[in-house]
Subunit: 155 residues, 3 copies
């Protein structure tokens, strides 16, 4: 079985440093055998927020997809920071994605949020099979394109 | 004790076929003694999306109520598909409802989301006593009127 | 160790009566060693809804902060009503905050939702270290400024 770290390497992906929270909360919490991240923004390196604006206006759907992928890499970086080893992830249980969209852009949002789902499926394989809830809004913190939360069952 | 299936029959309700996900995720996941569905749209038969548009503009509050009820029947269909028997549901723990609303239509939304709560209470009785979180937005995937998630404790 | 009740007193805060749900659901549910509240509005006394309107338009960010703090006191009141004693709270696992915002007001929202996080950190100390998900919307039930949910691990 290929490890999640090996798959990241195969995919040419590097985890960004796990970013701190932008306000008075924690980036992740473990309770029992579950870990929950806070909402993750599309930080490139914990300092530069890529993808600002609304999908369908300032940003294309393709950029929205990339933003979701990047937020998710930040969320995976939180799992790594919390657990030490991504092999402790037994299952990604849920992905929550909030998308900053222009009016009338709802139709495209499931494909945009696949930027999160595709990278999870690629990195975690069978263990990445997740449920999903999507939120759409005309305003997000720091005017970011998206915010992604992961829940994972851990061992 | 009346079973959930018997109550559905008494209410003249039929579960639609459990719809597949509209993108790269799973319709439900079990972790420990909890099952979580993904966001469920108001599909009539897994193929026809009823209730497109914004509640308070293209759709009336009554249509919004019906949309929430239909999305919830789809969510119950996911529980059935996952568990085989709805009697394995010990408790509906949480309902999440996202409503597609016209500007200024927030006031009516708790009653609209009762379309989800009422059918859960009717079908599951005491076991249906649930918490609820409501989300309101001017845009939803596929321009649907609503999206409903269920969490249930199972045995 | 100072109790949560003692900290509330030190802070000059009084829990409002735990408000009933505004529709066909329950204000809280316990499943295993977790308690989840429903979305809590900024009720002063279970009857008067303070802070109606959009943050960034009818309400200032400071009023939004106060609204989040008040909704959170209502959520803590639910924990007390459910558990009898706040010392049964081992950990606040997650805060969900939905903010009613004027267009273009996303930037300020993390600070506004600190109205929830700050009071939790002050009341629960180490046990209050929580993850957070923020939702922004131009419409909320009853035109309230915010809606707050707490998840807590209990013993």
């Amino acid at each position: 079985m290929t490890t999640a770290e090996a798959r990241l390497t195969e995919l040419g992906l590097e985890l960004p440093p796990a970013p701190g929270a932008v306000a008075a909360y924690e980036p992740w919490a473990i309770s029992g055998n579950m870990i929950y991240t806070s909402g993750q923004l599309p930080w490139r390196d914990g300092k530069t927020l890529l993808f600002k604006g609304r999908i369908g206006a300032e940003l294309t759907p393709e950029q929205g997809y990339e933003a979701c992928r990047l937020s998710t890499l930040n969320a995976i970086a939180q799992l790594k920071a919390a657990l030490g080893d991504l092999e402790r992830v037994h299952r990604i249980v849920r992905v929550e994605g909030s998308l900053n969209v222009a009016p009338g852009s709802g139709d495209m949002t499931p494909k945009v949020l696949n930027g999160a789902s595709d990278v999870i499926n690629a990195v975690f394989g069978e263990r990445g099979r997740h449920t999903r809830m999507i939120y759409t809004t005309p305003d997000l913190p720091l005017n970011a394109a998206c915010l992604v939360v992961l829940w994972a069952e851990i061992g």
